[in-house]
Structures are given as C-alpha cells and as structure tokens.
C-alpha cells in the first residue's frame, strides 16, 4: 500500500521538463505554438504554488511592514509568473490564425515535436502535485482553513515552504531558458509568427524575474525539507481491510499501517462533531479506549521481546536503550489508557451503539498487533484463543522482520496518539455540550431527578477529561520514543516523525486566502501561527487581519482601497475597544454566601 506522493508527481514533472529542454525533433511553428501553450499552463500552475505559499495581495506587500522578505519575494515572483502566463497565452491566441488549426487544442498533433508532449505532461504533473498538497486542507463554513490531515501543517512548515520556493525557482528558470531558445528558433516550413516570437521572448524575461526574485531570498534548501516535501502523500482514506486468519508478517504490518492511515484521517475529520453528531457515542469512545489499552499492552510486550532478542546487536546495533525507553513509554501509555476505561463506567450519551468513526479500525489494530505478539495468526483476546507470548525468533527472524515490527508499533502509536488527541477534544466538547449522562440511581442520595438518566456530574466529567489529558501526554512520550526507534531502524514510517517535527516548527503561511490562520478541526480556538525566523531574527509574517478585513478578503473584493479601508476600520475598532477597557469601572467583588441556593437537580 503506497499512496502517491508529491515526490512521485514532481519527479515526473522534472523528467518531462528535462526532456522538453532538449528540444529534440524537428520544430515547426505549430510545435512552437503548442509548446508555448503548455508553458503558459505551467506558469499559471507555478503562480498558484506561490499563492499557496504566500497568500498575500500586492497591496499587502506595500502596506504591511511586518511581512517577511521571503513573502514579498514570493508575491513578486507570483505576479511575474502570472504576467508570463498571460503573455504566452495572448501570444498564442494572436498567432493561432496564422498557423494550421492542428496546432491548438489538447491533443498533440503527430507532426509536433516530442518537446510539446513533454511540456504538456509536465503541466499535468505539476497541477496534480498542487492538487495533492491541497487535498490536506479544507475550508470551513466561515471560509476558515481546516487542516484535514497531519500533513497540512507540514506543507506550511518553514522547511517545506523553502523547498517549494526553491523548486519553483528552478522550474521557472528552466522554463525561461526554454522560452528564450524557442523565441530564437527558425522553424521548418511556415515562419514563426511575430506575436508568438515576441511573446516567448517577453515571457522569458518575466520567468527569469520570478526565478531571480525567489533565488535571492531562499537559502540552501535543507535535504530534510525536500525529503519531507517529496514524502507528502495524497490525502485518502484507504479502504478498511478486516483481519483475516493466517495473515503473514508482511500482511499484518501492512494492515496495521492501513488502519493507522485510516485513523489519522478519520479521527481528525470527526472530532469537531461530537457536540451534536448522533454517531459520536459513549459506547464508541469506551470501546476505542479499551482497544487502545489492549494495543498499548501488546506494544509494551512486543518491545520487551525485541529488547531481549539474542541478535539485537546485529539487527539493530545500539538499539537496546531505545527499545528500553520505548517499552517504558508504551507501559506508561498503557497505564494512562487503563484509567480512561473505568472513567467511562456507567456513562452514556443521548445516542448509543458502536457508530463512531474508526471504531472498527482500533479493533483491527489491536488484533493484528496481538497476532504479532502471540505469533498466532488466529489470536483474539478471547480466553479460548489464548496462547503463550511469542519468543524473540517468532516475532522477528531477521533484520527485515525486526524493522517491520518496529514500523508496525510506530504506526500504531502514531494512530493512537491521533485518537487520543481527537477523543480528548471530542469528549470535552460533548461534556460541555451536555451530551454525557449517567444513570440517576448512581447519583448521591441528595439528588432528586425524576428520570432514569441525569446529566453527568461535573466531578465525573472532569475526571474523564483529565484521564484523556494524561493519555495525550503519555502517547506523546511513546511516540517520541518510537520516532527515535524508527529512525534507528530506518523504518519507512520514520517520515511520520519528521512530519510531526516539521509541523511543530514555526509555520510560515496559511494556504488559503481568508486569513485568520489555521484552525483546529475540533471546534476550539484557532491555533496561533508564530512568525518565521529569518537569519536568526524574529520576523513576524504578517499582522493578523481584523474581522472586517478577513470578510472583505474572503469576498475577494478586487479593489485594494476597499481592503485598506477595512483594515483602517478594524484598527479604529480596536482603539475604541482599548479605550473602553481602560476607562471601565472595575466590577465589585461578589460577597460570599449570598443566600442563593443551587437547585438540587443541577449536578455539581
């Protein structure tokens, strides 16, 4: 199961651009026209990459002194790229009547040089690459940005944006050279129409401008940034693959990775719905927590077996301390999840059933890891199916299996960390929304509730949410330990750890216009987006937009003056609020024991 990654697509684009640059074959005017059309499309796509990386208007670069230099450069390059695309497009439209009709359109005419086909293929690959990056970001009802996967903040992280800008600069330069060479060709047959020749020459200038602007403000791209960029997969929810009897070790590891992929996407997408969605039930959360307990228990067992492997020195030299640390962290996570399960005791929601997202997947995860741990392809948690813990040689016979088992554990921990965060937020939201209940007969005698169920006592709700907080912290420790282990074992899953580290690093920009910064999908307050550091000095990327400016921006008002007026009004409103706050009379302290009684049916 290898989803398409950004690297797959830009790899194709690079190859096609390189092939196109050779200008093989006999070039006639029709071929040059086709090449110019494809180059216009590529330039438009590259301008969109830049708009995603630095979603600021030209006016903003003029009026916002806080905007970082790299962002200004990206905006300048974007404008130059758009001009190049428009110039090429205009020139091809003007030249078309002077050439045979077969040169236009999508199909590559048989007479066209191979360069045209390569340029069109590169255009398609680059567009697909941008679509892939955008698949991780959604738009909320208020046009706010929603991170739909853990890769969304990675795509906006400093190292990855640097890599995108550097790639764009390179592509722009290649296109510029190609445009320049095409403007000078003497095609066989009909002469190159003057508008087309001029358009190619002009676009060469604009493309070089874009490339120079980007190159001047981007340093050396870190290999890690490029590796991360190329590793970004398309966001997809793979189909569930229920465990089957007799799965091999490879099948088990693949199944764990698949369940983890599903859980990462599903839990994030659903967390914000717990205040109202009938599918989000106490039964589901309880079951998820109990499957997580089993998974963490099994994980700590497997890590113990791996740490005691007789060939550890060969399979993972120096891995002993890492395995010991990971085992200890997994035990902590197990203990933390164990406290969540009894905290759910006798708590229900207004709807019931195992209808929550990912319920089946956490079960699959536990079952497959259990089959690795017990070396029985038919293992289940049932007492009738129990068997002795597998020995080291049953768990991993060679370095490949050793690495595969670590990869499975890493995927499982990563998925459970996502589940812990999502469920923590979801349960807290459900509690605040009054969706959690307990049987009335479990209330202390002083409560008189004439119904079978009563809203959950505040003390129990707080205990439940607190248990999840502990789980989130414990899973974070487990994940950090397994990240290190995955790197040491060179497991393919190590990219997950790198992605998390990049996502934690200062973000550089929002991807969608509309401002406001990334917003959590769990319905909480928007996340703070720190500024990017350049040359060791803190440079805030942009002053935050006010509410009116955000709205105007979202409406895509074309007049920059409107945007400036909106900003001025927001600033004035802030001044008024500040004055009101400083001149307000402080409230009197409330005297204790006012004599008001709390109604007996309000839990507390």
């Amino acid at each position: 199961m290898n989803p398409v990654t950004f690297g797959d697509l830009i790899g194709q684009a690079r190859e096609h651009l390189a092939e196109a640059g050779r200008l093989d074959g006999k070039l006639d005017s029709t071929s040059v026209l086709g090449a110019a059309e494809a180059m216009a499309r590529i330039a438009r796509t590259l301008s969109r990459y830049l708009a995603d990386a630095a979603p600021f208007g030209v006016v903003e670069t003029l009026v916002n002194p806080a905007l970082a230099d790299w962002a200004r450069a990206a905006v300048d390059a974007r404008q130059a790229m758009r001009t190049a695309a428009a110039t090429l497009h205009r020139s091809t439209r003007s030249a078309e009547p002077e050439l045979p009709a077969e040169g236009s359109g999508e199909a590559v005419p048989e007479t066209a040089a191979p360069a045209v086909g390569h340029l069109r293929a590169a255009s398609v690959a680059l567009s697909a690459g941008r679509d892939l990056l955008q698949s991780h970001v959604g738009v909320g009802v208020d046009r706010e940005r929603l991170d739909l996967s853990q890769w969304a903040p990675v795509a906006g992280s400093a190292s990855v944006v640097e890599a995108i800008l550097a790639e764009t600069a390179g592509w722009s330069r290649d296109l510029a050279f190609l445009a320049g060479r095409l403007s000078l060709v003497s095609p066989a047959g009909a002469a190159l129409p003057v508008p087309l020749r001029d358009g190619l020459a002009s676009s060469c200038h604009w493309l070089l401008t874009a490339s120079s602007a980007l190159s001047a403000h981007s340093g050396d791209v870190s290999p890690a940034g490029m590796w991360l960029l190329e590793s970004i997969p398309v966001r997809q929810v793979p189909a569930r693959q229920p465990p089957a009897d007799g799965e091999s070790m490879a099948d088990l590891v693949d199944g764990v990775a698949r369940s983890a992929d599903r859980l990462r996407v599903i839990t994030r997408a659903w967390a914000g719905r717990s205040a109202w969605s009938p599918a989000m039930t106490a039964d589901s959360w309880r079951w998820t927590a109990s499957a997580a307990v089993v998974t963490c228990h099994i994980s700590s067992q497997i890590l113990g077996v791996l740490a005691a492997h007789p060939d550890l020195g060969t399979f993972l030299p120096g891995g002993g301390p890492l395995l010991a640390d990971a085992g200890e962290q997994a035990s902590r996570a197990w203990a933390a999840w164990r406290k969540v399960v009894p905290a759910w005791s006798l708590i229900t929601t207004d709807t019931g059933g195992l209808t929550g997202p990912g319920v089946a997947d956490v079960g699959d995860l536990a079952l497959r890891l259990g089959r690795i741990s017990f070396a029985d392809p038919r293992w289940t948690p049932n007492r009738a199916d129990r068997c002795a813990l597998a020995g080291p040689w049953q768990v991993a016979r060679d370095p490949v299996e050793f690495g595969a088992v670590i990869e499975a554990l890493h995927h499982a921990a990563d998925a459970l960390a996502c589940v812990a965060e999502a469920d923590h937020a979801a349960v807290e939201l459900a509690f605040r929304a009054g969706r959690l209940y307990q049987p009335t007969r479990t209330l202390p005698v002083r409560y008189d509730v004439p119904r079978k169920f009563s809203p959950l006592l505040a003390s129990r709700g707080a205990a439940l949410v607190g248990a999840y907080e502990d789980v989130v912290a414990a899973m974070s420790g487990t994940l950090a330990a397994l990240d290190a282990l995955a790197v040491a074992a060179q497991a393919p899953s190590q990219v997950q750890g790198a992605a998390r580290a990049a996502a934690r690093s200062p973000a550089v920009a929002v991807i969608l216009p509309g401002g406001g910064g990334p917003r959590r999908t769990d319905g909480r307050e928007p996340l703070h987006v720190p500024g990017r550091q350049e040359g060791g000095s803190q440079t805030p990327q942009s002053a935050p937009r006010g509410p009116l400016e955000r709205t105007v921006y979202a409406l895509r008002a074309g007049d920059p003056a409107i945007l400036l007026r909106a900003r001025a009004i927001d600033t004035a409103a802030n001044h008024v609020l500040h004055e009101a706050r400083t001149s307000a009379v402080p409230p009197r302290p409330t005297p204790p024991n006012t004599g008001r009684k709390v109604p007996s049916n309000i839990p507390g």
Binding site: H297, R338, N382, R383, A384, D385, P439, T440, R441
Partner: protein, 140 residues
C-alpha cells in the same frame, strides 16, 4: 468467589422483573469489578478481562434504562472487589455467572413486560453474552 456464588444465587432466585433487574445490576457491577481486579494477574488474559469489564458496564447501562428498574440509589460501595483463588477458576465463575444473567434476561423478554423493559433486557443480554464468550474456556 463467594461473592460470585452469592450474586448468582440472587439472580436465579429473583421473584419478579424488578428483583431480577436489581440483582442483575449488582451482579454486573461485581463482574466488572472482578474483571478489573484480574486484568494484571495473567498477561495472556489481560484483553479478555479488560473487554469483559467494559461489556459488563454496557449491560448495566442497558438495565438502567428499564422502566421497572427500582429507582432507589444503587449501592456503589462494593465497586472494588477483592479477588481470591486461581485466575482460571475466577474466569470460569464469572463466565458462568454471565451465562446465567444472559439466560435470565432473555427469559424476561419473553414475559408480559413493558416493551421498554424487554428492550433493555435484550440489550443487556447481548452485552453480558460477550462477557461469557470472552471468558469461556472453549468458545471457539
């Protein structure tokens, strides 16, 4: 073990639906508590005991919605069970008690009870059957 035997006797000798529901509630609480206490006593049975305690809780929640369930506050004092005896014997006893409970709840759905009582008993029977399957020696 004595507590499990006593709970079983109370369930089997319940005279009416309210008595069965009340006895069932307490028996399920005991099962959940015993299972939690046994979780760490045998690594290979950890999952079985842990999931059984969750299923017992779910059965209790189902019973709580039954209209005939006595409204008097439940006795939650015995939530921490003290478990003695070999873990295998405890698992057998809990599995047996779960089977008795499931049969009793299913039998209650056949009587002239309120449909809401019948639904609650059916749901509780399903959940407690899972306990029996999880802890049975030979469920396969």
């Amino acid at each position: 073990m004595d507590e499990i035997r006593a709970a079983r006797h109370r369930v089997e000798s319940a005279g009416d639906l309210a008595g069965l529901l009340d006895a069932g509630w307490d028996a399920l609480g005991l099962i959940a508590s015993v299972c939690r206490a046994c979780e760490k006593r045998a690594d290979e049975l950890f999952g079985a005991f842990m999931l059984a305690s969750v299923a017992a809780d779910e059965a209790r929640l189902a019973l709580a919605s039954a209209p005939s369930m006595p409204s008097s506050p439940a006795d939650l004092a015995g939530e921490e069970a003290r478990v003695d005896g070999p873990v295998e014997a405890v698992a057998d006893a809990v599995s047996d008690l779960a089977q008795v409970l499931a049969s009793s709840f299913i039998a209650a759905t056949a009587g002239p009870a309120d449909p809401a009582d019948q639904a609650a008993c059916r749901e509780a029977a399903t959940a407690v059957s899972r306990v029996a399957v999880l802890l049975s020696r030979d469920a396969r």
